[in-house]
């Protein structure tokens, strides 16, 4: 891999555009209007074309103004059509943005016949070419695209920091926001304006199709990782930055493995963002698929642990004084948890709840306390269910067995009171 200063600039430009998109994208994700980003990024096309046809220049400021105007108009039309026709937002967006996008394509085609505006470049971006178009600044050559995107990122950061509260409340509860004098629909249009502007700024680097990936994927992944807004914003920036880095490295190395030439960095950035999302989806601690499976396993281990402790307690309660401890295989059979039981027993010994000797297992003083509480919960529940609710059939044991795992001290006390301070459960066993 030959890394040149050009590559560094490509990565920096990619990072800046991805981060400025991702920052606003968080709010699109949270407002459940992700596709609005898509609609705007497509619909700005005629704005670009018209601005270009009128001014005859590719000067970014003119293009920006034209595109932002059309972008805000898109947001406005989507709301208007949704309200007036009763269509849902998706349909309303589908009508508006496809029409505008098609119009834009036609205009660009017309313009392209006699001027230099490449539809392919608009759609897919040309981040590889951005370092060739530079600003001279204090002896430094900085790509124009990097400057534009850095400015956009600063504007977005300033917006999000200055209106953090207002963005939060208008996204979460627009009705309350409006009643306290924060204009929710005004906020919506300011956000849409910035989304349009950000889209245009990112256009050159990632193209209009891939802009949507940068708007939505980092925010969506960050939302899976945390349940605090500020952390979500920060994480989305990190994820966006990483996608740019991995995207460019991937673009110049991965095709090489297959004997191919470099591929599009913008495309690879979107793929990298997607890959990060997939990782998060599977491995996020709370919301990830694996995390949830892991929590389920932990829960079933805890239940097995409770069962083993309670079993040992009941065994010692019944066994005459001085009888040998119960063997590990008996415990395993009793709790019916298979090999998991062995793992849990090992853990119980390690935590010193259970003593393991050559003959078998017995509770330590600490383990005994824990086990007593479990058995107490179980018998209290049986008493309560039988005396107070009339569940005295055989299956009262199973209900109590399920409830004992979720009963804490406070609930125990309440049960004692409700069940009328019992000494024995319905099977005439002493409540410890």
């Amino acid at each position: 891999m030959d890394w040149t200063v050009l590559d560094s600039w490509i990565v920096v430009t990619g990072m800046l555009s991805a981060m400025s998109c991702a920052l606003l994208g968080n709010y699109l994700v949270l407002r459940r209007m992700s596709m609005m980003g898509d609609a705007i990024s497509h619909a700005v096309l005629p704005g670009l074309a018209i601005a270009f046809l009128i001014s005859g220049s590719r000067d970014s400021l003119t293009m920006m103004v034209g595109a932002v105007l059309i972008g805000v108009m898109t947001a406005f039309l989507v709301e208007a059509i949704q309200k007036l026709s009763g269509l849902d937002r998706g349909a309303s967006m589908g009508v508006i943005f496809t029409t505008l996008f098609a119009l834009g394509l036609i205009l660009i085609r017309q313009a392209a016949d006699h001027v230099d505006l490449d539809p392919g470049c608009v759609l897919y971006g040309a981040i590889e070419l951005t370092p060739l178009d530079v600003y001279e600044w204090g002896g430094l050559e900085i790509p124009r695209a990097a400057v534009t995107n850095a400015a956009m990122l600063l504007v977005n950061l300033a917006f999000v920091l200055a209106f953090y509260k207002e963005l939060k409340i208008t996204s979460f509860d627009p009705a309350l926001a409006t009643t306290i004098g924060i204009n929710a629909s005004g906020m919506h249009y300011v956000l849409m304006t910035l989304v349009a502007a950000t889209t245009i700024a990112a256009f050159e680097s990632v193209g209009s199709i891939l802009v949507i990936a940068m708007l939505i994927v980092p925010g969506a992944a960050a939302h899976l990782l945390t349940d605090r807004l500020a952390r979500m914003l920060a994480l989305s920036l990190v994820i966006a930055g990483l996608s740019a880095v991995f995207g460019h490295i991937g673009a110049i190395t991965v095709p090489g493995w297959f004997g191919l030439r470099d591929t599009s960095t913008a495309g690879m950035m979107a793929v990298a963002a997607g890959a990060i999302f997939v990782c998060v989806f599977f491995f996020a601690p709370h919301h990830g698929v694996t995390g949830r499976a892991f929590n389920r396993i932990l829960l079933s281990m805890r239940i097995t642990r409770d069962d083993i402790l309670a079993f040992l307690y009941r065994f010692q309660e019944l066994a005459p004084e001085g009888s040998p401890p119960v063997s590990a295989s008996d415990v395993e059979n009793a709790v019916k948890a298979g090999s998991a039981a062995r793992l849990v027993m090992w853990d119980l010994v390690r935590r010193k709840y259970v003593d393991r000797s050559a003959e078998g297992l017995s509770l330590t003083e600490e383990g005994r306390g824990l086990a007593r509480s479990l058995v107490r919960s179980h018998r209290l529940w049986e008493t309560y269910l039988c005396n107070k609710m009339g569940f005295c059939a055989e299956d009262v044991h199973y209900s109590a067995h399920r409830l004992e795992h979720v009963t804490d001290k406070a609930l125990q006390d309440q049960l004692v009171e409700e069940a009328g301070y019992p000494f024995q459960d319905p099977h005439r066993k002493t409540i410890p």
């Binding site: 949270l30 459940r32 009763g86 200055a162 953090y164 509260k165 207002e166 939060k168 409340i169 996204s171 979460f172 509860d173 009705a175 309350l176 926001a177 409006t178 009643t179 306290i180 004098g181 924060i182 939302h223 945390t226 349940d227 605090r228 807004l229 952390r231 979500m232």
Partner: protein, 280 residues
């Protein structure tokens, strides 16, 4: 006919209610797609009362509140809060929207949500400071939710979520509260907590306008009732207005549980006998 509280015409000349009347509404009409939801609503609600807004589904109860709060446009009519338009009296008003109206997966904690009630006081461009968070925590304490302050809101039960909403309204520190179905789908403990809270607000001289569904509890929880079905059918003190005839007018043929509710109400001891019959 419906008592002293139903006389908006007296104050209508200036198109603004008297300054001591928390909520004054005249000629309010609201329509969705040209179909009226509220028609010519006149109301004048007394201060320091717990007021139930009662009516069948689709009667315009939520619409009434939302149009008062300028959340949906009015086709016609005037609203004044303590004698002046809502837009300048916002600081006097607290609002508890329906629980389903927000996305509970939103990445905020219970405390964050309560702090939102302070946003107006905090003002633009200023962050939520530690002092504000402490204030929010105190409101959470009042509804028994302090131990859950740091929980993400989707990890709360429905009743707990409702209590968070109420704590947020308390943080708004208003004189007039609008609550849209706070009792909907909550557990018994939360219902008790909400009632206690309403009584406390009342004892502080605050006025609560509550959209309520459960007719059986109206007489015990509320001392003033607005019966609504597109128009105001009746409004006034509960013992005067909450009569079988008025309810029949409000609910039309859809009265099933109603007779039972009224029967129970008739058996229950009344705080003071009504001076005027509601609908006779």
């Amino acid at each position: 006919m419906f008592g002293a509280f139903f006389q908006p015409s007296a104050a209508s000349a200036a198109m603004a209610g008297p300054a001591d009347i928390p909520l004054w509404v005249e000629d309010l009409t609201v329509a969705y797609h040209r179909k009226p939801v509220l028609w010519d609503v006149d109301l004048s609600l007394p201060e320091g009362k717990l007021i139930a807004v009662v009516g069948p589904n689709g009667a315009g109860k939520s619409t009434l509140i939302k149009s008062i709060l300028n959340l949906i446009p009015r086709a016609s009519g005037a609203v004044s809060i303590y004698g002046r338009p809502y837009a300048i009296q916002r600081h006097l008003v607290g609002y508890v929207p329906q629980r389903e109206s927000v996305d509970w997966d939103f990445p905020v904690s219970a405390l964050d949500v309560v702090a939102m009630g302070l946003y107006r006081k905090i003002g633009w461009f200023r962050p939520v400071s530690r002092r504000h968070r402490q204030a929010a925590l105190r409101e959470l304490e009042k509804v028994g939710m302090a131990p859950y302050a740091r929980r993400q809101i989707s990890q709360l039960s429905g009743g707990q979520q409702q209590r968070v909403f109420l704590a947020r309204a308390l943080a708004q520190d208003a004189r007039l509260y609008f609550m849209d179905e706070p009792f909907a789908g909550v557990d018994a403990a939360t219902e008790k907590a909400i009632v206690a809270l309403l009584k406390e607000l009342q004892s502080e001289g605050k006025t609560c306008v509550v959209v309520h569904h459960d007719l059986q509890t109206v007489p015990t929880y509320f001392d003033h009732v607005v019966l609504i079905n597109m128009r105001v059918v009746a409004a006034g003190p509960t013992q005067d207005v909450f009569t079988e005839e008025n309810l029949r007018k409000t609910y039309g043929g859809k009265l099933t549980l109603l007779s039972q509710a009224l029967h129970e109400y008739a058996q229950a001891p009344r705080p003071s006998p009504g001076k005027k019959g509601g609908g006779e």
